[in-house]
């Protein structure tokens, strides 16, 4: 007879409502992403390999606008290559892979100068790694190691601050190959 306690039926109703809401929230962007829009500006990232959604020949091509439309994340961290603790922002790798419908076990991230590093899919899915498009709100030029810079959240996860992850922190990213 305590008024604060929900009756079982009422609780079930609440649960159903919550589930409905969640499905609606998740469903909307997924519907919109079912076909990848073609890039309108200069392509700065090409995701190829085991990708399900394409807008170019066997690959998903992104311009800055397409990347900006994906879920963004801010990572404020120190890195070995920057002074102080800049604010890096950009889409998470997981959201980029989601947009390209990628299914694979690892990624090969290739830079403009053909430097390449392999990133296990666990990193992309389990760690909020971003492809930074901006530093402190400013777009990154090639001369400042842009346009895309792989940024691990070093400050949140100090255990990542070592050479293995420095090697995976590719800058001047131009391509991502999804390896099956």
């Amino acid at each position: 007879m305590t008024p604060r306690c929900f009756s079982p039926t009422r609780r079930r109703f609440l649960g159903a409502a919550l589930a409905l809401g969640a499905t609606a929230a998740l469903g909307a962007p997924r519907m919109a992403r079912a076909s990848l829009a073609p890039p309108s500006g200069q392509v700065i990232l090409t995701v190829s390999g085991a990708v399900g959604l394409t807008n170019a020949e066997g690959a998903a091509a992104f311009d800055l606008a397409l990347l900006d439309a994906l879920p963004q994340r801010d990572t404020i961290t120190a890195t070995p290559w920057h002074e102080g603790r800049p604010r890096f922002s950009g889409p998470t790798i997981a959201s980029v892979l989601g947009a390209a419908g990628a299914t694979g076990s690892s990624l090969r991230i290739v830079a403009l100068n053909d430097y390449a590093a392999e990133m296990p899919m666990e990193d992309a899915r389990g760690i909020p790694v971003i492809l930074a498009t901006r530093i402190d709100g400013q777009e990154i030029s090639v001369r400042d190691k842009g346009p895309l810079f792989v940024i691990y959240p070093f400050d949140e996860r100090p255990d990542l601050f070592n050479e293995v992850y420095f090697g995976r922190s590719v800058w001047q990213v131009s391509r991502v190959e999804v390896l099956a």
């Binding site: 100068n113 030029s141 400042d144 001047q172």
Partner: protein
């Protein structure tokens, strides 16, 4: 003779105690030293230095490689025509520009302590690369073959400087590796020496302790013998005392009997008629 023996009995344990104290102190000092050396040997700073030096080498290599790519891009543009390949020249230069920042003066000299010839060369390369920017910007404006040739003429000395930097960095890296190996070897030797001395010290302590145990056991045995002897002496003394008591008791009895007779008879004689002379003698007995 007796005094000398007593002194030798005492100085043994005292010397032992002194020896133990000195050895314990020495061992403690050695132990602290060993721990310190061990800490030095395992210090993480060294590993970090290694990694930083390798990063520097990698940065220099990549810079050299990118200069070559820029040269190749310029040659490609000269061959295929300025219009089609200018983008790749500018991109190659932009990548090179981003690399040049990694050759910063301060951190570079930090990475190779003791090899001072390196950081001026790194600064030279860095300034050479950054100095190409106006020529590249002019090329992007003019899009002409003369501008491209001009850029190529400017890149050539930079390429020579980067090649030189690669060689010097490699040599410095080798020197650093040798110096570090030498340092590790020296530390290991010192550590070995200290551990050896420590073992000797402990062996000394164990020996002295064993000696002390033996001395203590010997002293205990001596004490036991002395106690036994004392007991025997006491027993003998008690027997003598008892004999004396028995003798005295018997003797007094033997004397008392005739004495009573004499005293009684003297008493009786006082009632008899005695001459003056006799009376005087009698009073002497009483």
């Amino acid at each position: 003779m007796k005094r000398w023996r007593r002194r030798s009995d005492w100085s043994g344990p005292r010397a032992l105690r002194w020896g133990l104290a000195v050895l314990s102190g020495l061992s403690l000092v050695l132990l602290v030293n060993v721990l310190h050396l061990f800490g030095l040997l395992g210090e993480s700073r060294r590993a970090m230095d290694d990694s930083v030096r390798e990063d520097a080498m990698w940065a220099v290599y990549q810079t050299d490689r990118q200069v070559s790519r820029l040269t190749a891009a310029i040659d490609g543009a000269l061959w295929h025509g300025v219009g089609s390949s200018l983008g790749s020249v500018v991109e190659a230069y932009d990548i090179l520009y981003s690399r040049a920042q990694l050759l910063e003066n301060g951190s570079f000299s930090l990475k190779f302590e003791g090899t001072d010839s390196l950081s001026p060369q790194a600064a030279l390369v860095r300034e050479g690369i950054l100095g190409l920017a106006p020529a590249v910007d002019a090329l992007a404006e003019a899009r002409s073959v003369p501008a491209l040739r001009d850029l190529r003429d400017r890149v050539a000395p930079v390429q020579a400087d980067t090649a030189e930097l690669v060689l010097r960095t490699n040599a410095a890296l080798d020197q650093a590796i040798v110096a570090q190996r030498e340092e590790v070897r020296r530390l290991q030797q010192r550590l070995g020496l200290n551990v050896g001395l420590l073992v000797v010290g402990f062996a000394g302590i164990v020996t002295l302790l064993a000696l002390q145990m033996r001395l203590i056991a010997a002293a205990g045995r001596k004490l036991a013998i002395l106690g036994e002897r004392n007991r025997a002496v006491a027993k003998r003394a008690r027997a003598a005392s008892r004999a004396k008591s028995t003798f005295l008791a018997t003797m007094s009895h033997e004397i008392r009997t005739p004495l009573n007779g004499i005293i009684g008879t003297a008493e009786l004689m006082t009632h008899a008629d005695l001459s003056v002379e006799q009376a005087r003698h009698l009073s002497m007995i009483r």
